[in-house]
């Protein structure tokens, strides 16, 4: 590992190259700033592109952003901040036209308008899309525009430390994975846009890189992190976690247990397979837990499409058929697909105001890594891409306008971080990062999954703290300088252990069920005690402080339940 002396400066630094990061870079550059992106992968490998369904916006004359806002707040189990949702929904139409002008090939209606499809929890068709690969088209289009502007991208640079400014600019330390170099970069403004953290559960629809690095960076630097107990769980993932869209059930697929029963009739006789996501997910897990699922590979049930017939499957669900064949090893025309719930989205993140500012001067956050909060306890489909674009663009404008007083700090942090990383490489004889990661995933699934309660969660918190102790001696086998994949995995594990602790610290004291936080010892919403955001931060002794923050409530009055 080589230490590069000095501090490289830009007008703005953006950590993360998904939709939020690239939208910010484009806006900052268009406002005249020399913005640079750092990403631990190439920008086109970012997880934003896995989004299939679409992006919400009230773009029709007969729709209204205020209706979109109401649907979002209700879907959030009243926990979203209504001022932040106002920004999201009011700026949504402009975001769609900006994306279209950048070149996103949105699917159009026969009349030539941008088409919109129906998504859960919304009272009208509001989800714009590009076939069933909306995120892919958005990400590639924004990367084209990043190239067009000649924006600097530090590819495969893993940011391992964030340093708040002390009269100087904030800075960061990045590890150049290919070259094995450590260097410090500083700017008047730094944006964290590193995406979600659902990999802490192992069984997840997320890319393997979604380990919450940016949230952990901010937490270690003492910044407040909000609502980390809320992880959305999707009912139907393949056994390796890859998503099978709700559209399959929308077309009429059955959920069947090992006794060939359509078990949803016991849980939601009216809506059956199309009951709300959280209910369906809990029903599937109950079947597995009570021994009515298929017992191998950790348990699963069947999603059966066979009665739809080959023609309907080929025309309506071609992608699903491809995914099932390539990643599930079954052709849904001939066999049912093994599925189980999969962790899908991180609602919590670095606490920001509606201008993407964090508590630390010059440090901003946007997208899934941030919590502004527009999703509250449960995100609506089609609002994640929207948040990334709307708040990413907003961040970009704020980065460019950040005050330039101060100047770069010394390169002491790089020296420190180089010493730390060299120390990690020198460790011998400890456990492998993968062993600890698998144990962590099992703890998170057991204790913070679909069903939570005091006993499970307390046990989970103890286990996480024990894993954190074990990780202090974790060792890598690769001691080399060039593309040290083993060290990469250890740094990701460190972030995951921080994220897991934040999740546990927020979940244990929240004695209610709200959105995806479901407790069988407190089954109801408790607005009197818990209509508030959890705020965790790192105490000066390294411990976890837990506090609360009021929800921004304007005209939408929270109800005692969320009823559809």
């Amino acid at each position: 590992m080589k230490l590069c002396e000095g501090v490289t400066t830009h007008d703005a630094l953006i950590i993360g190259s998904g939709l939020a990061g690239m939208a910010a870079a484009i806006e900052a550059r268009d406002a005249g700033a020399d913005a640079a992106i750092l990403s631990k992968v190439h920008p086109l490998r970012s997880h934003s592109q896995a989004a299939q369904g679409g992006i919400n916006a009230a773009i029709r004359p007969d729709d209204d952003w205020r209706d979109h806002r109401f649907d979002t707040v209700k879907g959030s189990a009243w926990l979203a901040d209504q001022d932040a949702v106002t920004v999201l929904c009011r700026e949504a139409p402009d975001a769609i036209w900006w994306l279209a002008a950048c070149g996103v090939p949105f699917t159009r209606t026969p009349e030539g308008l941008i088409a919109q499809r129906a998504f859960g929890g919304q009272r009208r068709n509001r989800t714009c899309y590009a076939a069933d690969k909306t995120g892919h088209d958005l990400l590639h289009t924004l990367y084209e525009q990043v190239q067009r502007r000649g924006i600097t991208v530090y590819e495969e640079h893993f940011v391992t430390r964030l340093v708040p400014g002390d009269g100087s600019w904030p800075s960061l330390v990045a590890w150049d994975v290919c070259r094995g170099e450590v260097r410090q970069l500083a700017a008047p403004a730094i944006l964290i846009a590193t995406g979600g953290a659902a990999r802490v559960f192992g069984q997840s629809s997320n890319a393997l890189i979604n380990t919450g690095d940016g949230v952990a960076l901010a937490w270690r630097a003492g910044l407040p992190v909000e609502d980390m107990e809320f992880f959305q769980i999707h009912p139907t993932g393949l056994l390796n976690g890859i998503l099978i869209t709700e559209g399959a059930r929308g077309e009429g697929a059955y959920l069947v247990n090992a006794r060939s029963e359509r078990f949803m009739e016991r849980y939601a006789p009216k809506f059956m397979e199309l009951a709300p996501r959280d209910q369906v997910a809990r029903a599937i897990q109950t079947e597995i837990d009570e021994g009515r699922g298929f017992p191998t590979s950790g348990g699963y049930i069947h999603l059966d499409l066979r009665h739809l017939g080959e023609e309907k499957i080929a025309t309506r669900l071609p992608q699903i058929r491809d995914i099932a064949i390539a990643f599930g090893g079954v052709d849904p025309v001939k066999e049912p697909i093994p599925v189980r719930p999969t962790v899908h989205y991180t609602m919590g993140g670095i606490a920001t105001d509606t201008d993407t500012r964090t508590e630390c001067p010059g440090v901003f956050a946007a997208g899934e890594a941030a919590c502004v909060s527009v999703h509250g306890a449960n995100r609506l489909g089609g609002n994640s891409l929207l948040e990334a674009v709307v708040y990413g663009r907003r961040a970009g404008r704020n980065l460019a306008a950040a005050p330039r007083a101060g100047g770069p700090p010394s390169d002491d942090a790089a020296t420190d971080e180089h010493r730390r990383l060299t120390g990690l490489l020198a460790r011998e004889g400890g456990e492998r990062p993968a062993t600890l990661r698998h144990d962590l995933e099992a703890v998170m699934r057991r204790s913070f999954g679909l069903f939570r309660n005091q006993e499970l969660m307390s046990q989970g918190l103890r286990d996480i703290l024990r894993l954190r102790e074990r990780a202090k001696s974790a060792a890598v086998q690769d001691k080399g300088r060039t593309f040290n994949h083993d060290l990469f995995l250890l740094l990701q594990l460190e972030a995951m252990l921080d994220v897991a602790w934040m999740c546990a610290a927020g979940a244990v004291p929240r004695q209610e069920s709200r959105g995806c936080h479901y407790r069988n010892d407190f089954e109801r919403l408790d607005n009197d005690r818990f209509l508030k955001h959890t705020i965790v931060r790192r105490a000066s002794d390294g411990g976890m402080q837990v506090g609360y923050k009021d929800v921004a409530i304007e005209d939408i009055i929270p109800q005692a339940e969320v009823k559809y």
């Binding site: 002008a101 070149g103 590639h140 492998r432 083993d486």
Partner: protein
């Protein structure tokens, strides 16, 4: 569970500039893909093994390697589809310098892409305008345009293009496909200029029609078909390359 032998071409520049072969055994079950075998080997046999991945769902384009001599996504290649009685040979992609083990330098690929300025410039059709792709394009153009938008830049076609191997001035199939996307984009302000640019030396006229790009593409984007369409369009427009 059955086991398979993975014969991996290794290179660690920290130790030696010479590549070498190493064999690993890994257990596998139905539905398991090559990427999972790589994880198993890295986790429990050799922590120094380097390879790229991200989505493990064939959408991010990170994990392309050569499997038994042909470029493919490690996440999409089921071990059951290979002959597990023989060693499964894994090598880094061609036409790019190797950084370490199965990790190659992506810069030659993206530098070739930047040659055709793969972005939309302002000044074309206003997206507010009502239009349909069907109304603007013939069915075959529309089909190829949508295939061009499916490209995940995984570099499989770039790796296995014999023309690129023999003449590095050729920009490669994915870049030509990106040119197709630009030229036919409904909002492109200067399609004729773009087509002329694609016809420059090293561009669409240099394709030798080996068809490898069509065979190895994990998203069925058919780059050579796009090249042939562009060649025809260039001829009709009187700007065919030499």
């Amino acid at each position: 569970m059955p086991t398979a032998t993975f014969r991996i071409r290794r290179l660690n520049p920290d130790v030696s500039p010479e590549p070498y072969w190493q064999e690993f055994e890994a257990a596998w079950g139905p539905g398991d893909v090559v990427l999972e075998a790589l994880h198993a080997i890295q986790e429990s046999q050799d922590g120094t093994l380097a390879y790229r991945y991200s989505c493990r769902g064939a959408i991010c384009g990170s994990c392309a390697v050569r499997i038994n001599g042909t470029a493919a996504l490690a996440c999409k290649t089921q071990i059951a589809s290979l002959d597990a009685a023989k060693p499964i040979v894994l090598e880094p992609l061609l036409n790019s310098p190797v950084i370490k083990d199965l990790v190659v330098d992506q810069e030659p690929f993206f530098a070739s892409l930047r040659n055709i300025m793969p972005w939309l410039d302002p000044g074309g059709r206003d997206p507010h305008e009502h239009y349909t792709i069907e109304g603007l394009m013939s069915p075959s153009t529309r089909d190829q345009f949508l295939r061009a938008t499916d490209c995940i830049m995984c570099q499989c076609c770039f790796s296995d293009c014999p023309k690129r191997l023999e003449d590095p001035r050729f920009v490669g199939p994915a870049t030509c496909l990106a040119a197709y996307k630009r030229i036919h984009h409904p909002q492109e302000p200067a399609p004729a200029e773009r087509l002329r640019q694609a016809c420059q030396p090293g561009g669409i006229g240099d394709c030798d029609r080996h068809t490898n790009c069509v065979k190895v593409c994990p998203k069925d984007c058919r780059p050579m078909r796009a090249i042939m369409f562009l060649q025809r369009e260039a001829k009709e427009a009187g700007i065919a390359p030499e």
